[in-house]
Amino acid sequence: MIKVKNINDFSVDTEDYDLVLKIRQEADIAVARQMVKDFAKKNGFSLADVTKIATVVSELSRNIQRYAKKGYICARKKHGKDGNVLLEVLAYDNGPGIKDVELAVTGGYTTSQRSLGLGLSGVRRLMDTFKIISEEGKGTIVITEIRRRTF
């Protein structure tokens, strides 16, 4: 059980999640991608959405690995107010944090040499909800949800 309350007073409890995946090395990215993909499939998400979700996990876990060295990817199934099923992906790390979150979420901004800077903005575009909490020197949390479509 990991309880976190230190990033902008935001609290994460990994016990609330169906799936908790440690990201420590590059190889963990592929594992996380695969695990969350299977989880989404099992919960009846369409193939198009499964592809999006896998891509989101790929982006968020790479950011953890690249900028914070280690952290967690968590996933859970939720029920929205309107009875909809949602899949939530949460990425959490205790890395350096992001100075200007606005800028980081703007497509095209990157602090990497070989990168497009389209990761976070891409995730926001793929998912139905997107929230990022980051504090310099403390870490970063990204919380994002996608609705299960029935058509």
């Binding site: 590059e26 190889a27 991608r33 592809t51 999006k52 790929s58 497009l116 389209l118 995730v123």
Partner: protein, 119 residues
Amino acid sequence: MSDKVVPIIKLYDYLIVPIQIELDDITVEKLQMQLLNEISAKKARGVILDVSMVDVIDSYISYVLSETAAMAKAMGCHTVICKIQPNVALTLAQMGIKLENVYTANSLESALEILNQLD
């Protein structure tokens, strides 16, 4: 063999590369190395990447593929990405990612046609 991550088939002046592995960061970087080595060794004028088996292409993989294509171009070799899965194409489009420096085709036949016309 350890640094060869994909089989490469030479046909005419072209290389056909079926990518039938998961593209993680390490693999995609090895793929880049292997491709550039073979383009140079075989003096290839075109390379066809068959990505029909690849079910995740994210921003970094896109970046490396485009970068590889740019390097190939500098070596006189065109790149065609062939049989991208519709869901993968959709995801890339929605993220605002465009694969740069590459042609795209729906079949190996049309990929070969594109390369023939460029020659």
